[in-house]
């Protein structure tokens, strides 16, 4: 009997490193997009808190931590990353499985901000873009979600189909930054 083998979006592409900066794939986990129904935003936030210990994040913010996080991804849209969504959420919003839709990578190391500065037109300096801040923006020509998840660590989400381009773009920027730092 044939078997169904799972393949992650960045299979065979990651991890890579250049200088002090590393890019690795975050192992696939459950990802559920949640959009509140009319007038249900507060109730949804309460339900999220009760079930998963995290409030609904404001725009450009993420709540939670590694393993269980809620990231704002757009107007009336957040992504629950990690836990299986509690059934209690369903009354308050539209839940959609997105576990396979995104390539999710972690960029970390001293020069991570410098690498992203080559690709992203948004101010990601630590003083401005703090831990728990997130943004929907462009990475070169790609639409992405970027969240600061550590002092010099970022989570980047791009469409699964664009995983190869994502890795290529970030790797090119990593090499450029590493080459300059080497001098």
């Amino acid at each position: 009997m044939a078997e169904m083998n799972a393949k992650s979006p960045c299979d065979g592409l990651l991890p890579i490193a250049a200088g002090d900066v590393h890019l690795s794939e975050i192992p696939m986990t459950l990802m559920t997009s949640i959009s509140p129904f009319k007038g249900q935003t507060a109730a949804l936030s309460e339900a999220l808190k009760a079930a998963h210990g995290m409030a609904l994040p404001a725009p450009n913010r993420a709540t939670g931590r590694d393993g269980a996080r809620v990231v704002w991804i757009g107007r009336e849209q957040v992504m629950l990353i990690g836990p299986e969504p509690a059934a209690s959420l369903e009354a308050h919003g539209a839940l959609t499985d997105q576990s396979d839709a995104w390539a999710v990578v972690r960029l970390y190391g001293e020069g991570a901000e410098d690498v992203l500065a080559r690709l992203v037109p948004v101010d990601l300096r630590a003083a401005v873009f703090k831990r728990g801040h997130t943004v929907r923006t462009m990475l070169q020509h790609m639409s992405v979600s970027i969240t600061r998840v550590g002092d010099s660590a970022f989570q980047i989400m791009a469409f699964r189909s664009m995983a190869k381009t994502l890795v290529h773009e970030v790797e090119t920027a990593m090499k450029g930054v590493a080459a300059r730092d080497a001098s």
Binding site: A2, M4, N5, K7, R118, F159, G176
Partner: protein, 976 residues
């Protein structure tokens, strides 16, 4: 000639490089210009139009003469300023715009023909015959006049772009810039200090003056060291801020690796977009030459450049130097030369009250009026009240005063104002929101003034950001007043150059004025003064002073031309960094991509996606053979095709059904759970937007499919409709295109293939045509839709994308076991044409539901987006071009897409056009080419014959008009 013991070069590090094939020695810290000068190479270039011998005239990015080509082969870099190119071991440079060599340039005959080559020459001479312009005149002109050339080959160099943010951007690191940056940095602000040179310090590196009791260059180095140690400061050397844009955004070009032999993986250049809350322009000033007869000979340069070569590079630009000018800078130059042991032949000062000297002869109230020497200066002639005199000299240092570098302040259409005291244009406040100016670019020419203004402007800028900065002690520095007498062009015969880069002379400007190109903008365009890489850095003010004189106006009334970005030339490669080749757009790959490529399928682009065109089997030599086989396979057995690229949108909420009723022309609120329906969507203007199937997965949940190309636009449209047209509806939507890998399994054996792959019995009573629902695929949760784009019994099976590759392989194995296999886009296209199914080739943005025969799908029971507009007169009726089928009936059996239709016997001209073909393909099923077309009143003309004419491919075929559904019009096969 190199002087001992002077300069900021590292004499322990000799460097050798090539210029025009010859090897020269210099030191680390040298530019090509300074190193060639040390080797007494004077002739380095030929001029743009007249091919006159030219030498270095400046010491920075304003250099107008010494443009070189750097490197060889694909990546050769033309028009590099010798004054900006740092030397490194192995550097290769060549002179430009000469043939066969710099010393024997055949085109220097242009110089003899100069009387005919003045301003407006092209416009007057090459008028006739008209047809000669493109083929003969222009190519000849382009070859004989010009700068360096690109290689024409793909550039393998890597470029980079980057973004930066700061509280304060300081542009230029001379005394004003250093002081501004230091003041702001000490106050804790985030500061970016950008400097064009490799070395910060500006004029301090080229002068002998002291700052704070030490050499100016040492003071600058001390400030740089302090700034470097501060975490809130980013120092950017070799970085030219090239433009000021909206909302505090500045463009800056960083020359990352032009100075390195071994780049070690660095990009060649990086183009920065710097967003600054405030900016201070400390761009300094550019010394201007004076126009006199033959003022362009090698050896004639600006006085400040002479001092820079002397003091910074330890190079004497000549052995007997003459200095000429209208301000005290000439005396400083003479003193520096004497101190360096260089003979000063004469100082010629046009001011009658100029100071005299015991160290060198001073001619007061005198002007240089001519020069001689073929490939290098030999003597100059000067004129005073006592008549003309001649002095032997091999270098003339000229100063006509200083032009503040106001360029950036003008990038948002502001105009500088004339300052009579300094005979220059200066910026006024507010020309660029958020930017102020300090130092020489503001017209403050003393070092003390620059230091104080830099500090003061930093305090003001930070204050507006709520950061309080302390007044830093201003170091003691020179504070002499700047005294200058007007001196633009010395009268006399012959050509006196204003714009060295474009070979524009005083005579040209006067001629423009006499031909009534009297506005400064007209004069610029008529003479080309101030154009191209130079952007008028050297010549602008002098040229308009000459124009003012010629037109009897004052300089302020004449005004300046518009300074536009970029301040220095910026390579397109750096602006578009990362977008070379395949980097132009992201690539989207399906989960089946590797399997398809392994099977030898040529991949074609569909939007950003890559999809297999066909899957060549052993022995197949043409795509048609593969396509025909794949079509037959689907019609007779079973085929598998990746359809994941179609847009999929998850739509949920209590009002999901009502929302779909509003965006689709037909009803979806009545669709049963577990069923799928074809839907048609109109734009607001009533034309067809997209089509596709939508499945109802639950009471409040639908999943919509869109065409591949319209996935983004349709989701955007839905968001628009929800947010703007029916915000009261309780509905949410999100793309799930990427979540699911979805494969079409089509053909009479499709059910046999799937039956033991899924956990459900696919008997038709459970899974009739248009059924849908959740299903387990080899134990994995998936979805099944019984829909068909081929007219055969078909299913689309979806699993989470991680399992896509695995399932695709398994489907292929099972299909092959049943006599089927994979099929690509070509076969998919033929299959749908046989069935008359439309794609965006048909719904191309100009057709209505009526045109495609779907007007009955616009429900009369409800309103929908575009309905009212689609009912406008002219959008339906016999005059419309309507969708029909075409089959060839004449001797030519081929049809082509994009061809036009004519009545039999009518001339194939635009006025007779009856319609056009949109999709064609050879149908192995019908053993004929089939076409879909739009034909005027087409539905009423079935059975009639028309002529298809493709003027581009030269194909003419007689066709019969028929129903667009060629195959199985009753639809029996799709139901099984």
């Amino acid at each position: 000639m190199r002087l001992s013991g002077k300069g900021l070069i590292d004499r322990t590090k000799p460097v050798s490089f090539r210029f025009d094939g010859n090897v020269f020695q210099g030191f680390e810290g040298d530019t090509v210009a300074s190193a060639l000068m040390a080797n007494e190479v004077k002739l380095v270039a030929r001029s743009f139009k007249y091919h006159r011998p030219r030498g270095v005239m400046g010491a920075g990015s304003e250099e107008a003469n010494a443009l070189l080509t750097v490197g060889r082969g694909a990546a050769q870099d033309p028009n590099v300023r010798a004054t900006m190119q740092e030397i490194f071991d192995g550097l290769e440079t060549r002179s430009q715009n000469r043939w066969p060599s710099l010393h024997w340039d055949m085109l220097s005959v242009n110089d003899l023909a100069a009387p005919f080559l003045g301003a407006g020459f092209y416009y007057k001479t090459f008028m006739w015959p008209k047809a000669f312009w493109e083929k003969i005149y222009e190519p000849i002109i382009r070859r004989s006049a010009g700068l360096g050339a690109l290689s024409g080959a793909h550039n393998p160099d890597r470029y980079e772009k980057a973004f930066a943010f700061c509280d304060l951007l300081v542009i230029g690191a001379g005394p004003a810039g250093l002081m501004a940056a230091l003041t702001a940095a000490r106050a804790g602000a985030d500061v970016i200090l950008a400097e064009e040179d490799r070395l910060m310090g500006g004029r301090l590196n080229g002068e002998t003056e002291e700052v704070g009791g030490m050499a100016g260059a040492d003071w600058a180095a001390g400030v740089v060291a302090e700034l470097e140690a501060m975490p809130n400061v980013r120092l950017m050397t070799r970085t030219t801020v090239t433009g000021a844009y909206d909302q505090g955004t500045y463009g800056a070009l960083e020359r990352v690796a032009h100075h390195l032999g071994d780049r070690g993986g660095r990009p060649l250049e990086c183009f920065w977009r710097i967003v600054a809350k405030r900016a201070i322009l400390c761009a300094g000033a550019i010394e201007r030459p004076v126009a006199f007869q033959n003022n362009d000979r090698p050896g004639i340069m600006t006085a400040s450049a002479v001092r820079t070569y002397l003091n910074r590079y330890g190079v004497a630009p000549g052995r007997r130097v003459t200095v000429f000018g209208n301000n005290d800078g000439v005396h400083q130059t003479a003193r520096d030369l004497i101190a360096a042991g260089v003979h000063v032949a004469a100082v010629i000062d046009n001011r009658r009250d100029a100071t005299d000297s015991n160290d060198y002869p001073v001619y007061r109230g005198a002007e240089v009026c001519n020069s001689s020497g073929r490939k290098g200066l030999e003597s100059v002639t000067f004129r005073s009240l006592s008549g003309e005199d001649k002095v032997e000299t091999d270098c003339l240092a000229v100063s006509g005063g200083w032009n503040p570098s106001v360029h950036l302040t003008c990038h948002m259409n502001g105009r500088p104002v004339w300052n009579e005291a300094i005979q220059s244009f200066v910026p006024v406040d507010g020309m660029i929101p958020g930017m102020t100016t300090a130092g020489a670019c503001q017209g403050t020419f003393s070092t003390h003034g620059a230091l104080s203004e830099g500090a003061a402007q930093a305090i003001v800028a930070l204050d507006t950001l709520g950061i309080s900065a302390k007044v830093t002690d201003i170091p003691k520095a020179e504070d002499a007043p700047y005294e200058v007498a007007p001196l633009w062009a010395v009268g006399g015969k012959g050509r006196a150059w204003l714009d060295f880069q474009n070979d524009v002379t005083v005579k040209d400007v006067k001629q423009a004025a006499s031909e009534n190109f009297a506005s400064v903008e007209h004069m610029k365009r008529y003479t080309t003064q101030g154009m191209s890489p130079d952007q008028g850095k050297n010549s602008n003010v002098a040229a308009l002073a000459v124009l003012a004189d010629a037109t009897g106006r004052g300089i302020p009334e004449t005004g300046t031309t518009t300074f536009r970005p970029p301040y220095v030339p910026v390579s397109i490669a750096s602006l578009g960094a990362g977008a070379q080749g395949a980097g132009f757009a992201p690539q989207r790959f399906t989960t089946s991509h590797n399997v398809s490529v392994d099977r030898g399928a040529p991949m074609i682009e569909a939007g950003l996606w890559y999809r297999p065109s066909f899957f060549p089997a052993r022995g197949e030599k043409t795509w048609r053979q593969s396509c025909d086989r794949e079509v037959n396979m689907v019609r007779n057995a079973v085929g598998v095709c990746d359809v994941s690229t179609l847009g999929k949108i998850d739509i949920q909420g209590p009002d999901a059904g009502a929302f779909l009723d509003f965006v689709y022309t037909n009803m979806f609120s009545t669709l049963k759970v577990g069923r799928t329906r074809y839907g048609l969507m109109l734009r607001e203007d009533g034309t067809v937007m997209d089509d596709g199937t939508t499945a109802r997965l639950g009471e409040q949940r639908y999943v919509m499919t869109t065409t591949t190309a319209a996935a983004g636009p349709v989701l955007r449209h839905l968001e628009f409709v929800h947010q703007c047209l029916c915000p009261q509806m309780d509905v949410q939507m999100i793309s799930v295109t990427e979540q699911w890998a979805q494969f079409a399994v089509a053909g009479p054996k499709a059910r046999d293939l799937l039956n033991d792959l899924v956990d459900d019995d696919l008997a038709d009573e459970n899974w009739p045509f248009m059924a849908c629902g959740p299903i387990k695929v080899l134990g994995v949760g998936g979805r099944l839709f019984r829909i068909s784009f081929s007219g055969e019994r078909a299913y689309e099976i979806a699993v989470p994308a991680r399992f896509g590759e695995s399932l695709f392989g398994e489907l292929n194995r099972r299909a092959e076991a049943l006599g089927g296999g994979l099929y690509g886009m070509e076969a998919l296209n033929v299959l749908r044409i046989e069935k008359g199914f439309i794609t965006h080739a048909e719904i191309h943005g100009r057709v209505t539901a009526f045109d495609i025969g779907m007007e009955r799908m616009v429900s009369a029971k409800k309103d929908c987006v575009g309905k009212t507009m689609s009912e406008r007169p002219g959008l339906s009726g016999a005059d419309r071009e309507q969708l029909v089928g075409l089959k060839p009936v004449g001797p030519v059996k081929q049809l082509t897409a994009g061809a036009h239709l004519f009545e039999v016997g009518a001339a194939a001209v635009r006025e007779n056009e009856q319609g056009y073909t949109t999709s064609v393909g050879y149908s192995p099923t019908m053993e004929s080419y089939l076409g879909l077309a739009f034909l005027r009143n087409g539905r009423g003309r079935h059975g009639e014959e028309v002529v298809m004419v493709d003027h581009l491919r030269d194909v003419t075929a007689r066709c019969v008009v028929c129903d667009p559904v060629f195959f199985d019009p009753e639809g029996g096969r799709v139901r099984g």
